[in-house]
C-alpha cells in the first residue's frame, strides 16, 4: 500500500518537472519573439508631423546593419539572382526617340509643302486573287460553243428591244408587234430563240410573254459588257499604272523546304 502511494507521488513529481521544462521553453520563445518585434520597430524612424497638422507622424525606414544569418539549413537548389532592368529609363529613351522621329517627319512634310514639290509615283494596284482564281479558271475554260448558246439569242437589236420592252411586265403578241414594228412570223423568228434560251416565257392562257430572271440578267450583263468594251476602247492608255497581282494558289506556292529563293525571278 505504501509502495503504491510512493510510486504515484514520484510520477506526479516527474510530470510536474516536465511541465516546468515545457513552460520554460515556451517562455524563451516568447522572449525571442518580443526581441524580434523590437528590432523591427527600430528599423523605422518616426517623422513628426508639422505643428498644427492632424496627420499622425510618419514612419520611414532606417538603414540598419544586416541581420545575422539564420541558422536554418540552406535550400537544396538556390536560383541565381534575377537581373534588374530599369524599365523607366528604357521607356524614357523610347519616348525621346519617337518624339525625335515625329519632329523629323513634320519638318520633312513642311519642307515638301513649302517648296510645292510634286512627287509623281506610279500607281500600284494590289490584287489578291487566291479565292477568285479557281472561279476564274472555270470561267476561262468555257468553250466558245457554250458562250454562243448564251449570247447568240441576244445578238439582234430587235431581240434586245423585246427584252427591254418586257422588262416593264408581261406583254401580248400584239403589243410586242406594235412596239417592235414587225408582225407575224418576223416577230416569231425573234421570239422563238429568246424562249428557247429561257430568257422569255410564254403563258399558256392568254399567250402573254414575260421576261424571266435569266432574261433580265442576260440583258443587264449585255449592258454591262457594252459599257466596259466602249470605255476600254475610248480610254487613254495608262502607262503609269503598275499592276501587282499575287497568285498564291496552294499548288503554285514554291517549295521553301529546300531554302529560300535566291533571285527575284524565283519569286
Amino acid at each position: 500500500m505504501t509502495d503504491t502511494s510512493d510510486d504515484r507521488l514520484e510520477r506526479e513529481i516527474e510530470e510536474v518537472r516536465r511541465l516546468r521544462e515545457t513552460l520554460k521553453r515556451e517562455l524563451e520563445e516568447l522572449r525571442r519573439e518580443r526581441e524580434e518585434l523590437r528590432m523591427l520597430k527600430r528599423d523605422y524612424k518616426e517623422v513628426p508631423s508639422p505643428p498644427g497638422d492632424d496627420v499622425p507622424p510618419r514612419r520611414i525606414p532606417v538603414a540598419r546593419p544586416p541581420r545575422p544569418p539564420h541558422h536554418h539549413p540552406p535550400p537544396p537548389h538556390e536560383h541565381p539572382p534575377r537581373p534588374v532592368i530599369d524599365l523607366e529609363a528604357l521607356a524614357e529613351s523610347l519616348e525621346d526617340m519617337m518624339a525625335g522621329l515625329g519632329e523629323q517627319i513634320s519638318l520633312a512634310v513642311k519642307g515638301v509643302t513649302d517648296n510645292a514639290v510634286r512627287v509623281r509615283s506610279p500607281r500600284v494596284r494590289v490584287a489578291h486573287s487566291r479565292r477568285r482564281s479557281k472561279r476564274r479558271r472555270d470561267v476561262e475554260s468555257i468553250p466558245p460553243e457554250r458562250m454562243a448558246r448564251v449570247l447568240s439569242p441576244l445578238g439582234n437589236v430587235d431581240r434586245l428591244r423585246i427584252l427591254d420592252f418586257l422588262k416593264d411586265g408581261g406583254k401580248s403578241f400584239n403589243e410586242i408587234e406594235t412596239y417592235i414594228g414587225k408582225t407575224g412570223s418576223s416577230l416569231t423568228h425573234h421570239l422563238t430563240p429568246l424562249i428557247d434560251a429561257g430568257y422569255v416565257v410564254k403563258g399558256a392562257v392568254r399567250g402573254t410573254y414575260y421576261v424571266t430572271v435569266a432574261g433580265r440578267l442576260a440583258y443587264r450583263l449585255a449592258q454591262w459588257l457594252t459599257s466596259q468594251v466602249e470605255s476600254e476602247q475610248t480610254a487613254q492608255p495608262r502607262e503609269s499604272e503598275v499592276r501587282v497581282e499575287f497568285e498564291d494558289e496552294e499548288d503554285e506556292v514554291p517549295d521553301y523546304d529546300n531554302g529560300m529563293p535566291e533571285s527575284e525571278e524565283e519569286w
Partner: protein
C-alpha cells in the same frame, strides 16, 4: 339519286344528281380568268349536281382541257411557267354555272361516243359525290369560286380551283398556288414560296434561302422533303384525298 353524309357538326350534306342526263351542245369554259382557263369539249355528257340550297355543279363524262399560268412576275423577272393538262373520263365541277349553255338531252349515241353506259356514268358520279360529301366538311359555296376535279388520261388525280384571281392546282402529289403576290409550289421533295419582291424560300433536303428561278413548277427535280413539307402535304391532302 341522293348522296348524303353526316357533317362533323351533325348537319347533313346532301348531293343529288339530276335524273335528266344531258349533253353539251358546244364547248364550255367553266373557268376563264387571267391565269387559268378550262374548256370542256363539245358533246360531253353531263348531269346537274344539286344540294339542299340549289344547283351546285355539274357531273360530266368526257374531256376537259385546262391551262394554268403558274408565272409570277417579280422585280428580278418572271418565275415559273405554264402548266397544261386534260381531264379524261368522269369529273365534276362545283361553282357558278350561270354561263352554262342550254343543255340538250343525251341519248345512247351520246354515251357511245365516250364508250360508257348511262348506268355506269351515274354510278361513278354517285360514288364520287358520296365520297366527297363524306370528306369535305363544308357546304359548297358556289359564289366564292369554281372547282374542277377529275383524273387525266394517265389516271393522275387533278383538282383545279379558281377563286378571286387565286389559282390552286393539285396534280397527283404536286401543288401549285399562285396569287398576285406569291407563287407556292409543292412537289415531291420541296416547298417553294416566291414573292413578287423576288424573295424565294425553298424547304427541302437541300434547303436554301435566296432568290432563285424555280422554272417549271412540276418539272424541277429535287429529292426527299422534310417535316414542314410533309405537314403542308397533309394539309393539301385534305382537299384531294377523297378522290383516291
Amino acid at each position: 339519286m341522293e348522296c348524303q353524309s353526316r357533317r362533323r357538326s351533325g348537319e347533313l350534306v346532301r348531293f343529288y344528281v339530276e335524273d335528266r342526263l344531258s349533253v353539251l351542245p358546244r364547248s364550255y369554259c367553266p373557268i376563264s380568268a387571267e391565269r387559268v382557263i378550262a374548256e370542256i369539249t363539245e358533246g360531253t355528257v353531263c348531269a346537274r349536281v344539286l344540294s339542299d340550297e340549289g344547283p351546285v355543279g355539274l357531273a360530266l363524262f368526257g374531256t376537259c382541257r385546262f391551262a394554268v399560268d403558274a408565272i409570277l412576275e417579280t422585280t428580278d423577272g418572271a418565275v415559273g411557267g405554264p402548266v397544261t393538262g386534260e381531264l379524261d373520263g368522269t369529273f365534276v365541277i362545283f361553282g357558278d354555272l350561270s354561263n352554262l349553255p342550254e343543255l340538250e338531252g343525251a341519248d345512247d349515241q351520246s354515251f357511245q361516243r365516250w364508250n360508257v353506259s348511262p348506268d355506269r356514268f351515274v354510278k361513278q358520279v354517285t360514288d364520287i359525290l358520296d365520297e366527297m360529301a363524306a370528306k369535305v366538311p363544308r357546304s359548297v359555296d358556289t359564289k366564292r369560286g369554281t372547282m374542277l376535279a377529275g383524273e387525266d388520261s394517265g389516271g393522275i388525280h387533278t383538282i383545279l380551283v379558281e377563286s378571286e384571281d387565286r389559282v390552286v392546282l393539285v396534280r397527283g402529289d404536286h401543288v401549285v398556288a399562285i396569287t398576285d403576290d406569291a407563287l407556292v409550289v409543292v412537289d415531291d421533295d420541296r416547298v417553294s414560296v416566291t414573292t413578287s419582291q423576288g424573295r424565294c424560300v425553298e424547304i427541302g433536303r437541300n434547303t436554301r434561302l435566296g432568290p432563285t428561278d424555280s422554272g417549271h413548277p412540276f418539272s424541277v427535280p429535287y429529292s426527299v422533303g422534310t417535316l414542314p413539307f410533309r405537314a403542308l402535304r397533309r394539309s393539301w391532302n385534305k382537299w384531294y384525298d377523297w378522290w383516291r
